[in-house]
C-alpha cells in the first residue's frame, strides 16, 4: 500500500466518521403540499413579501428599465426614441467592445489562479493558532480593507519613473534603472495592475478559505499523520478536497470581480495608453459618460449581465454536479 493509498483510506474512514457527527445535519423529511419549494404556502410568500418588494424596486425594476433603455438611443442629455436592437448590433460591430472583452478575459485569466493560490498559502500560514497568527491575518487582510481605490491612487504615485517606490526598489535591486514608465505601456501597466490586485484581493480569499480550514476536524489530520502521510499529502488529500466549496466560492467571486473590474483601471491608466488597458466595465462607463450614449452603454451592460450570470451559473452547476 502506498502512502497516498494510506492517506486516502484514512480520509474516507474519517470522512464517514465525521459526517456521522456533523451537528445540525439532519435527514430531510418528506415534503408534502404545504411548505415545499414547488408548492409554497401563502404564509411563506407573505413572509418574503417585504424582501421581494425590495428586490423588485431595487433590482428588477432597474433591470427592466435598463432593458428598455438598451432598446432606445437614450443620450445623457435630451430626448430619445425606440430603436429596437440597433444598440446591440452597433456594440457587436464596435472593435473597441471586442478589444475590451478580450482584455477582460485576459485579465481574468491572469489574476484568478494567483489570487486563489496566494490566498490559500496565506490561509495555511495563519490557520494554526500560533503566536503572531492574528497579527499575520491582519497584515494579510489589510490591503483588502484599505480598498482598491486608495491602493490605486497610491500606486499611481509609486509607479512614477525615478521617484516612485516601485522604480526605486527595482533600481536598488539592480533589476531596472528606475526610469520605467509603467503606466504608459499596455503590458507593463497590465502587469502592475495584476500584481496590485493579486496582493490586494488575496486577503479576502484567505479569509474564505481559512473559515473552511477551521471547520475541518483536527482528528482527520491526526489520523493521517498516524498513518504517516506527509504535509503535502495531507494538504492534497484532506484540505483541498474538504475545501471544495470555499474554493469554488472564491473562484466564483474572483471571476465575477475580474469581469466587473473598474476602479483600478479608471484610476491608474484611464484605460490607456490608447485602449490597451480598457476592461469591459470601463468601456461601458466611457460609452455612457464620455460618449454620452447611455442607450448603447446599457446594451453593453445587459450583455455583461448575461455573460456574468451565465458564467456564475456554470460555476454553480459544476459545484452542484458532484453532490
Amino acid at each position: 500500500m502506498t502512502l497516498s493509498d494510506t492517506t486516502a483510506t484514512t480520509v474516507a474512514r474519517t470522512r464517514a466518521a465525521t459526517e456521522r457527527h456533523i451537528p445540525g445535519r439532519r435527514k430531510r423529511r418528506p415534503l408534502g403540499d404545504e411548505g415545499t419549494l414547488t408548492h409554497p404556502s401563502s404564509h411563506g410568500l407573505l413572509l418574503v413579501l417585504p424582501a421581494a418588494l425590495f428586490v423588485c424596486v431595487f433590482v428588477l425594476a432597474p433591470l427592466v428599465f435598463a432593458l428598455y433603455i438598451s432598446l432606445t438611443n437614450w443620450p445623457l442629455i435630451g430626448s430619445y426614441k425606440f430603436i429596437g436592437l440597433d444598440n446591440y448590433a452597433t456594440i457587436g460591430r464596435d472593435p473597441a467592445f471586442w478589444q475590451a472583452v478580450l482584455y477582460t478575459l485576459i485579465y481574468t485569466a491572469i489574476v484568478t489562479l494567483p489570487i486563489l493560490v496566494l490566498g490559500y498559502l496565506m490561509a495555511v500560514v495563519v490557520r494554526a493558532n500560533r503566536p503572531g497568527s492574528t497579527l499575520l491575518r491582519t497584515v494579510f487582510f489589510l490591503p483588502y480593507v484599505i480598498g482598491l481605490s486608495t491602493l490605486s491612487f497610491l500606486m499611481v504615485l509609486e509607479a512614477q519613473p525615478n521617484s516612485g517606490a516601485v522604480n526605486l526598489l527595482l533600481k536598488a535591486l539592480h533589476i531596472t534603472d528606475g526610469t520605467t514608465a509603467w503606466l504608459v505601456n499596455g503590458p507593463l501597466a497590465t502587469g502592475l495592475i495584476c500584481a496590485l490586485i493579486i496582493w490586494a484581493v488575496s486577503g479576502s480569499t484567505m479569509v474564505l478559505l481559512l473559515s473552511g480550514m477551521q471547520s475541518i476536524p483536527r482528528e482527520v489530520y491526526e489520523s493521517a499523520q498516524v498513518d504517516g502521510s506527509s504535509w503535502m499529502a495531507r494538504e492534497w488529500h484532506i484540505t483541498i478536497p474538504m475545501l471544495r466549496r470555499p474554493i469554488s466560492m472564491s473562484l466564483i467571486l474572483s471571476v465575477i470581480g475580474s469581469f466587473l473590474a473598474f476602479s483600478q483601471f479608471f484610476i491608474m491608466t484611464g484605460g490607456g495608453p490608447g485602449r490597451d488597458t480598457t476592461p469591459i466595465v470601463l468601456y461601458i462607463y466611457q460609452r455612457a459618460f464620455v460618449q454620452l450614449q447611455v442607450g448603447a452603454a446599457t446594451a453593453a451592460s445587459v450583455i455583461l449581465i448575461v455573460v456574468v450570470a451565465a458564467i456564475s451559473a456554470v460555476q454553480f452547476w459544476l459545484l452542484r454536479a458532484e453532490d
Binding site: P40, F65, L76, G78, L183, L292
Partner: protein, 439 residues
C-alpha cells in the same frame, strides 16, 4: 384568493415594471421668460448655483459671500460639483426636472447642453449688458448657437507660454524678439538646454492628453486653422493636410529628440504639472496661470515672464478655457440666477479672480491698478480676441481621454517620430468619433 407562486411572481414582475416606468420620462423643460419686466433685478428668495469644485468652487463661493454683503433679498447657495461628474450630474438633474437656477460650467461643455435645448436663450439679456463688448469672445462663441446667446463667461483659464527670465538671460535669449515663431522658440530652448545638464528648455505633460490639447492646439490656431472642420452635425477631422498641425508636431518631436524636454515628460500625467518650472530648471513652460504662477513662491514669480503661444511662422493664440454661466430651462428662480450672473461678471468680482488662479473674462479688467497688482495676468486680456476654443460635442473624446485621438497622435508623432502614421491615425480617430457623436 390563494396566493400561488405563479401569481406571486406575476405580481412581482408587474411591480418591477411599474417602478421602472416613471424613469421613462424625458422632455425639454419650459424656458423662463427672460423678457418679463424686472427679470434679473431685485429678485428674492434663493438661487441655486452649481459650479465646478476645487479652486473654482472656492472662487464662486467667495463671490457669493460678497454678494450677500451687498443685499439681503437674494441668497446664492453654491453647490460645487466634481469636474469629472459635472456633465453627468447636470444631465441627470435635467432629466429629473430638478435643475439649479444657474450653472457655472466648463465652457467647452456648454454646447453639449445648448445643442440639446437644455439652456435658456439669454440673447435679449446679453444684448442689454452695458459691457457686452468687453466680454471674452472665445467664451461667448462657445455659448452661441445660430446667433443666439445661451450663456455668458464667468472666469477664464488661458494657456500661455511662461518662461524663466533668469535662464533666458543667461542663455542670451531676448523674449521680446525670439519667441515669435518655432524657429525662434527652438533656438531659444536649445540655448537654455545648453546651460547645464539639469536645465531643460521646455516641459510638457507628455502623458496627459488634457494638457496636450490645452497647450499644443493654440500653436495651430495661431495660423487660423483648427483640427475640426464644419458645423456641429457635419463635423470631421482636419488632420491630414493640416500643415500647421504637422509643423507643431514636428516642433515637439525636435524638442524630444534634441533632449530639450526632460525624459520624465514621457510619463508625466500632469500630477506634478509645473513643479520643474517652479523649481527653476525649465526655460519654457506652456500652461495656465495657476501652475506657473499661483503655485509658485515669490522668488519664482519674480523670474517668470509670459507671452501668448505662437504659430509655426508667427501669429499667436491661447486656449480660452474657463467657465460659462448658463440658466437651465426649468429653473425656478431664473431671475435670481441672472442677477447673480451679472454680479459675477462685474469688475470687482473679475479683478480678484487671479487670487484663485484665474483670469478675468473682461478686457476692461486690465486697468493700470490691476496690471500693477497682477502683472502676469494681463497678457491674454490685452489680446482677448486671440483666445479660441473649438466648438464640438466631442471635445472630451477627441482631446481629454486616455484614448483620445489627439493624445495618441501627439505621443506617436513626438515620442516615436512616426509623423505620417500618427497623422493618418489621428484623422481616422477624429472622423470616427465625430461621426459617432453626430449619428
Amino acid at each position: 384568493m390563494r396566493l400561488s407562486r405563479r401569481r406571486f411572481l406575476q405580481a412581482s414582475g408587474l411591480a418591477a415594471l411599474t417602478s421602472a416606468l416613471p424613469g421613462c420620462g424625458a422632455a425639454i423643460l419650459p424656458e423662463p421668460d427672460v423678457t418679463a419686466p424686472g427679470f434679473g433685478e431685485d429678485s428674492t428668495g434663493t438661487v441655486q448655483v452649481w459650479c465646478r469644485g476645487g479652486a473654482i468652487g472656492a472662487a464662486i463661493q467667495a463671490a457669493a459671500d460678497r454678494f450677500h454683503t451687498t443685499q439681503d433679498r437674494l441668497r446664492a447657495v453654491v453647490t460645487p460639483v466634481q469636474d469629472a461628474q459635472y456633465v453627468t450630474k447636470l444631465a441627470t438633474a435635467i432629466r429629473g426636472e430638478r435643475v439649479p437656477d444657474l450653472v457655472d460650467m466648463d465652457d467647452i461643455n456648454s454646447m453639449l447642453f445648448i445643442y440639446r435645448d437644455a439652456f435658456t436663450d439669454l440673447t435679449p439679456l446679453v444684448r442689454a449688458l452695458p459691457d457686452r463688448d468687453a466680454l471674452s469672445p472665445g467664451h461667448m462663441r462657445l455659448a452661441t448657437r445660430n446667433g443666439r446667446n445661451y450663456g455668458v463667461p464667468s472666469l477664464a483659464d488661458a494657456s500661455l507660454l511662461w518662461y524663466n527670465t533668469d535662464l533666458l538671460k543667461k542663455a542670451g535669449v531676448d523674449p521680446a524678439t525670439s519667441l515669435q515663431d518655432f524657429d525662434g522658440l527652438l533656438d531659444a530652448a536649445r540655448r537654455v538646454r545648453g546651460l547645464g545638464e539639469d536645465t531643460y528648455g521646455w516641459s510638457i505633460g507628455g502623458n496627459s492628453p488634457g494638457i496636450q490639447g490645452f497647450v499644443v492646439q493654440p500653436h495651430v490656431w495661431a495660423t487660423g486653422t483648427d483640427q475640426i472642420q464644419g458645423e456641429i452635425g457635419a463635423q470631421s477631422g482636419n488632420i491630414e493636410g493640416n500643415e500647421p498641425l504637422r509643423q507643431t508636431l514636428e516642433f515637439y518631436h525636435a524638442l524630444w529628440t534634441d533632449d530639450i524636454l526632460p525624459r520624465a515628460n514621457f510619463a508625466d500625467n500632469g500630477s506634478t504639472w509645473g513643479a520643474d518650472f517652479r523649481a527653476g530648471t525649465i526655460g519654457f513652460f506652456p500652461a495656465s496661470y495657476s501652475p506657473a504662477v499661483l503655485a509658485a513662491d515669490e522668488a519664482a514669480r519674480r523670474r517668470t515672464g509670459v507671452v501668448l503661444l505662437c504659430g509655426p511662422d508667427g501669429g499667436s493664440s491661447f486656449f480660452d478655457g474657463g467657465d460659462n454661466l448658463c440658466i437651465p430651462r426649468g429653473a425656478t428662480n431664473a431671475s435670481g440666477g441672472w442677477e447673480f450672473a451679472k454680479f459675477l461678471m462685474d469688475l470687482p468680482q473679475q479683478q480678484v479672480l487671479p487670487e484663485g488662479g484665474f483670469t478675468p473674462i473682461r478686457a476692461d479688467a486690465a486697468t493700470a491698478k490691476f496690471e500693477h497688482k497682477y502683472p502676469l495676468v494681463t497678457a491674454p486680456l490685452e489680446k482677448i480676441k486671440k483666445g479660441y476654443a473649438p466648438i464640438t460635442l466631442s471635445y472630451n473624446l477627441l482631446f481629454n481621454q486616455a484614448d483620445s485621438p489627439f493624445g495618441q497622435m501627439f505621443r506617436r508623432a513626438v515620442f516615436e517620430g512616426d509623423m505620417d502614421g500618427a497623422i493618418r491615425e489621428g484623422q481616422h480617430g477624429f472622423d470616427t468619433i465625430l461621426t459617432q457623436a453626430q449619428s
